[in-house]
């Protein structure tokens, strides 16, 4: 036996640990509970965190030939002893090692940054004592329809609520009351359309006394074209959509037809499985329609390197890897990228499986150096095709020769720009007639091919039938196979998060073994199964969520209530979520009446401080700001240059769109305050809103009426008495100030390009503008609550 005989030190420490952690049985006070140790909840994350870097599935980094993530390995006879002896902690080598104080034996080793706490040691001991049962990671087991709990309280409106109520009760909490009508209409309208409700919508809703008035409102919102815009604007983060190439030159590109396809797909309520199929493999469908081809632009949104002198194959491989990472993260919530250089440390994805998955994306008929819209392209005008293909051939030949032909290079690019400025194209997927061979790349390097691999998927997730053709079409169908354990859960979790600000799985970017376990596992599975059986009906899913009592709760909380559920993990109140920069800007445009509601089309260039592009980029440095109606398009149409993002969106946590982004962080910084106070976008919106409302309330003798009007347009509620006092005092003060210095009032009128009604009194307009701007800046205005 490899373990020294039991020592007094060992057993006393063992016993002490169990008692210290409250796991051991024995006299416990009433508020202490004995928690059994569960593999998936307690042990798996602990092993992943502290042990699997050296004792996981990655063979290359494995130490002592020991694997701790599979039962058969830990039970192996290692010459008279085993890593784990189920039910017998004292005779388990693992236990000896984690309790050892000998630097040569101790695990994790003393120099490891990750050491175990006593609580963790005790959990491992308890788990081994209990029999060391391993479980499959929850997210790799296909969801099954759980039984819906009963609710006799009458609170529940649909199944969601019945799943939510029980854990609330278990934690001694009660649901919050239903939010009032004004709060609800603002919340659900912002949520489903990204815009605040109009005055007319609010009046209609308040006047609608039918019992299903709210459901009718939801149906109207889901049917509006703005619903597709709002959904698309979130999908663009995943799709790393932008209007430029993203490398050195960051050359502008034209991918907006793909963006418009997404808007329309959501508006037509294209089922999620088809939405998946068209984007991943529309080009491989029999006789694909134009829409199905354009949809494949999803996997051409990655960055493309335009730098002269690059080794094209190096970057072609980057694009292929990007497709793997984006596809696996978007549909499966897994970061397969970790397996590019070695077997995944925690999740069941081997390096070979990574490259097998990569094979699906490796046969695109593309070249590693690309300028603007790179081949393969969808041509709206077939005559363009011949010209562009000729130029691209010459560019490739020239790029390999480069010597002394710089001028020719410049001329060709200029000719290409010229042709494409007159004729629309969009990048799409198109495979070579014969697929490229795919190899495992040593350390992920393009020039270190190893073993050849075939197309394949990670077997531990869901095996792929051997019969199906080896192409992206099969891959897309595999992802939406009803038995696939991840796709439906990942999708419903993301849609859930779009409403509550937090997913049922709080790590939507990681459904792997290191991700957070779901707060409501049965609800997640019920939603996932239901989503599939509904025919992947996205609008129905949204409708289900927003018509639940859970969603309709008031979001306010007392300090005590807040502290009992600070992250609202238990859903003890309605969502209160800081709006995204797109929503904040669109709200200001909409409330002021400036918003241009045109759907789709080329991206536009709204206000931006001088010099932002010029000081950074080398090519196309002029930011030709839009004018007129194009200044007031919704923010998802703002031109996105990856290397230099719109500063007013960037400050508010907008992402660079360089890679697939599941989660935007929400920060709270002084730079955000500066944007909302001083960006001409918001100052102009305030002035225009002041101008509009002054028409109905011209006299300064009725400030209260005017303030009520303004608040109702922005916050969708009348002001409180206190607010009236605060705002009236402001109005009064700014009026006096501008009266004594009218030149300041005149100057404020110069902000923004929309016309000023010359009949209006500039002093009065300026004072009101400043007050409207204040209301745009209150915390409530930038939160959906």
């Amino acid at each position: 036996m490899g373990i020294p005989s039991k020592t007094a030190m060992f057993s006393s420490r063992f016993a002490w640990l169990l008692i210290a952690s409250g796991i051991a049985s024995g006299p416990l006070s009433a508020d202490q509970t004995i928690k059994s140790v569960k593999y998936n909840r307690d042990i798996r994350p602990l092993l992943a965190d502290a042990c699997l870097n050296c004792h996981g599935q990655d063979e290359q980094s494995r130490q002592a030939d020991l694997r701790l993530d599979r039962r058969e390995d830990v039970l192996l006879d290692r010459g008279g002893y085993s890593a784990i002896v189920p039910g017998d902690a004292e005779n388990s080598e693992v236990v000896r090692r984690i309790l050892s104080e000998d630097a040569f034996l101790q695990m994790p080793p003393p120099d490891s940054p990750r050491q175990l706490t006593d609580q963790e040691r005790a959990m491992l001991l308890q788990w081994i004592e209990d029999g060391a049962e391993f479980e499959q990671h929850w997210s790799f087991i296909p969801p099954e329809l759980p039984t819906v709990p009963e609710d006799n309280t009458g609170w529940s409106r649909n199944e969601i609520d019945r799943f939510v109520l029980r854990p609330l009760k278990d934690n001694g909490l009660k649901p919050q009351d239903e939010a009032d009508c004004r709060t609800l209409i603002r919340r659900v309208t912002l949520d489903l359309t990204g815009l605040p409700p109009t005055r007319k919508q609010v009046e209609q809703f308040l006047a609608d006394t039918r019992p299903d008035a709210y459901e009718r409102l939801v149906d109207t919102l889901l049917a509006s074209p703005q619903y597709g815009e709002q959904q698309a604007s979130m999908w663009l983060d995943l799709a790393r959509y932008a209007d430029s190439g993203g490398y050195q030159g960051d050359i502008p590109r034209t991918m907006w037809p793909w963006r418009d396809w997404v808007i329309q797909a959501y508006n037509k309520n294209l089922p999620f499985d088809k939405f998946t199929l068209y984007q991943l493999a529309g080009d491989l469908l029999p006789n694909p329609s134009d829409e199905q081809l354009i949809a494949t632009g999803f996997n051409r949104n990655h960055r493309i390197n335009d730098e002269d002198g690059i080794i094209p194959e190096e970057f072609r491989m980057e694009y292929v890897v990007d497709r793997v990472e984006t596809t696996s993260l978007t549909w499966m919530g897994l970061t397969m990228g970790c397996a590019r250089c070695h077997d995944h440390k925690f999740d069941p994805i081997s390096q070979e499986e990574f490259y097998s998955f990569l094979a699906y994306f490796n046969s695109v008929d593309e070249f590693g150096r690309g300028y603007g819209n790179a081949q393969p392209l969808f041509y709206y005008d077939p005559e363009t095709q011949a010209i562009i293909e000729r130029i691209d051939r010459e560019l490739i030949e020239l790029g390999d020769a480069a010597q002394g032909e710089y001028q020719k290079l410049i001329d060709l690019k200029a000719e290409r720009d010229e042709v494409l400025s007159k004729s629309l194209t969009v990048m799409i997927m198109k495979d070579l007639p014969e697929p490229r061979e795919t190899f495992i790349l040593d350390r992920g390097l393009y020039d270190s091919p190893g073993k050849k691999v075939e197309h394949g998927v990670p077997a531990a997730i869901l095996p792929l039938s051997k019969e199906v053709p080896r192409n992206r079409l099969s891959l897309a169908k595999w992802l939406t196979d009803p038995q696939h354990p991840l796709t439906s859960r990942v999708a419903v979790n993301r849609y859930w998060k779009s409403h509550f600000g937090r997913g049922l799985v709080s790590t939507p970017e990681d459904f792997g073994t290191r991700g957070a376990p779901p707060s409501h596992p049965e609800l997640l599975d019920w939603l996932a199964v239901r989503f599939i059986s509904s025919g992947w009906d996205v609008k129905a899913l949204h409708r289900l969520i927003v018509t639940s009592s859970t969603y309709r709760q008031d979001s306010s909380a007392t300090k005590e209530q807040y502290l009992r559920d600070p992250e609202n993990r238990l859903l003890s109140r309605g969502p209160r979520v800081r709006m995204r920069p797109e929503e904040i800007r669109d709200q200001a445009l909409s409330a002021s009446g400036l918003l241009n509601s045109k759907v789709g089309g080329p991206s536009v260039k709204p206000y931006q401080p001088d010099g932002v592009w010029e000081e950074m980029v080398a090519f196309f440095p002029e930011y030709n700001q839009s004018h007129g109606e194009d200044l007031y398009r919704r923010s998802l149409y703002t031109f996105l240059r990856r290397t230099v993002q719109p500063p007013n969106m960037n400050s508010l946590d907008f992402q660079s769109r360089e890679i697939c982004q599941v989660n935007r962080p929400t920060t709270n910084t002084p730079l955000q305050a500066l944007v909302l106070m001083n960006d001409p976008t918001y100052v102009e919106a305030a002035r225009v809103l002041a101008q509009q409302t002054m028409l109905t309330c011209p006299s300064s003798s009725n400030d209260e009426l005017w303030l009520t009007d303004v608040l109702e347009r922005i916050l969708i509620r009348p002001p409180t008495c206190d607010e009236i006092e605060i705002l009236k005092a402001q109005l009064h003060q700014h009026r006096n100030d501008y009266r004594s210095r009218p030149e300041l009032a005149q100057r404020l009128m110069t902000v923004g390009e929309s016309p000023i009604d010359s009949k209006m009194n500039p002093v009065e307009l300026a004072a009101r503008t400043v007050v409207v701007s204040l209301i745009f800046n209150v915390d409530e205005a930038i939160n959906r609550e």
Binding site: A48, P113, R114, Q248, D250, G309, I310, I311, P312, E318, T335, G399, D400, A401, A402, Q403, T507, D510, R514, A557, K559, L563, P566, E567, P609, G611, V612, E615, A618, T643, V644, Q645, P647, S656, E658, I659, T667, T669, L671, A673, L674, M677, N678, E723, I726, A729, Q730, Q733, D737, L744, A745, Q746, L748, M749, T750, V751, L774, V778, D779, E780
Partner: protein, 476 residues
């Protein structure tokens, strides 16, 4: 275990503030992080020599054999083919891959040894030469990337791929705030006279990747106001703004009464911080109030906003006021062709002010705990790109060796570290990788690079990825 308050950041800040339950504003977060850091320094972390960094990044890749790493014997081999025993199959960029010959192009510039340390510095950098004894030259830097974009991204973030936090973001996250009313991480940029439109910048170079975006660098503009949206709109003066902010605070406080959400408290304090920035930033950037002696030191260029010299002066003013990390970018160091026409200009842009910054910090007692870094993203080839003549040549990208210098903050002054072969092609002694450089930089700031992590998508990320070793020899 948790040296840099990772827990705090892993949990939502709402939760954090909720738990502390004492109505802390966001400004307090920095203080807490500072105390966390102090606490950590007693545990796994190190006593730090440095507290802040000014990184003078020379974008495009300055030519090491024309500036710091002389190979005088190569004049005898002018025009000879680079021996394949030296090149050893090193890949070539697309710009020279098809060239018939790779001819040796010796530097045409004179070198002298300077100071007590006897460091070799080119005649193109006379001011730098004068402060040679303050500098720690690393002649054995090497990198993995051969093109600008991935190479700069690698140096700034530890990865060639986008999505990782930049050095300054890591430090903002780890070390917290020092200046109350200024950003922790500031970015300044200038164009080089050698290639005025060369070397674009990308926001990811100061991005925060997966770390919350409050840690991203704030780029100060050159042509208009320093910080975007800093100034009140035309027609709104500071007096009006002050009263407006008071009213806003009252409105937000009323909201807080009704809905307990600590983010509202944070928002209140962030608006107040914004207001303070409206005066602290202009105070910072008003370099015209500097005495003439300052401009004698930095050069007259420093009077011209947007120049490298003005940015060096600004950098000094920033670290004086507690900015943690100042990242300068000077563009235009990409001398593929016509090197003798471009390089002197690039040197003139940067030489005097770089040296002045080191001297100035020293005079003010700031050099001991401020690290100044000077260098590009890779080196340049000894072989000529395009035609070689007696007076003209160009050099392609070269990842296998390049020179950087570091001053202050515990780096050993007067040291020349590492060596390259006769062709300035391969490192022959004491190689320093980009990861090693990052590890050493963090070490000087009191941070163990293996322990400084941020969990994202299930993985504990480090600035040094899974690599890097502290080069103790570089530190005193």
């Amino acid at each position: 275990m948790n040296p840099f308050a990772t827990e705090i950041h892993k949990q939502s800040r709402r939760y954090f503030f909720g738990k502390s339950a004492t109505g802390l504003g966001a400004a307090a977060l920095g203080t807490l992080l500072k105390s966390e850091t102090a606490h950590a320094a007693q545990g796994p972390h190190l006593p730090s020599t440095a507290k802040r960094v000014i990184y003078l990044f020379q974008s495009g890749a300055p030519s090491q054999m024309d500036l710091f790493d002389p190979k005088p014997d190569l004049e005898n081999r002018r025009g000879d083919e680079l021996p394949s025993s030296v090149r050893m199959g090193q890949r070539l960029t697309g710009m020279t891959a098809q060239q018939d010959r790779l001819c040796i192009a010796p530097s045409i510039y004179k070198f002298q040894r300077h100071g007590e340390s006897g460091a070799s510095v080119s005649e193109l950098l006379p001011h730098t030469a004068q402060v040679a004894d303050e500098l720690c030259f690393i002649k054995s830097m090497h990198t993995d990337a051969i093109n600008h974009d991935p190479a700069i991204t690698f140096l700034m973030t530890g990865s060639q791929l986008p999505g990782r936090p930049s050095i300054g973001s890591w430090l903002s996250y780890g070390l917290g705030k020092e200046a109350e009313n200024l950003p922790t991480f500031v970015v300044l940029s200038s164009k080089g006279s050698g290639r005025p439109n060369g070397q674009p910048l990308y926001q990811r170079l100061w991005g925060s990747g997966f770390i919350p975006s409050e840690h991203q660098g704030v780029r100060f503009g050159n042509t208009t106001e320093a910080v975007h949206y800093l100034s009140n709109p035309a027609g709104v003066d500071s007096h009006a703004r002050h009263s407006w902010l008071n009213a806003l605070r009252k409105m937000n406080e009323a909201k807080l009464e009704e809905t307990y959400d600590p983010e509202i408290e944070t928002r209140i304090s962030q608006y107040e911080m914004a207001f303070r920035m409206q005066s602290s930033v202009p105070e910072l950037t008003e370099i015209e109030n500097e005495p003439q002696s300052t401009f004698d030191l930095y050069g007259e260029d420093a009077k011209q906003p947007g120049t490298f010299a003005a940015n060096c002066l600004l950098a000094r003013r920033m670290v004086e006021r507690g900015v943690r990390y100042v990242q300068l970018f000077h563009r235009g160091w990409d001398q593929h062709v016509n090197l003798p026409k471009q390089l002197p200009g690039q040197c003139k842009d940067t030489d005097q002010a770089s040296a002045a910054l080191v001297l100035d910090l020293k005079q003010r007692g700031l050099l001991d705990d401020t690290i100044v870094i000077w260098g590009g993203e890779f080196g340049r080839t000894i072989y000529c790109q395009e035609a070689l003549s007696a007076t003209n040549y160009g050099r392609d990208h070269h990842p296998r060796c390049f020179t950087m210098w570091v001053a202050g903050g515990g780096f050993r002054p007067g040291l020349s570290y590492g060596a390259t072969d006769d062709y300035c092609y391969n490192v022959t002694e004491n190689p320093v990788s980009v990861h090693d450089f990052h590890a050493t930089l963090l070490h000087a700031l009191g941070i163990k690079h293996e322990h400084f992590t941020f969990r994202h998508q299930g993985r504990d990320y480090r600035l040094t990825d899974v690599h890097g070793r502290v080069v103790d020899d570089l530190l005193s």
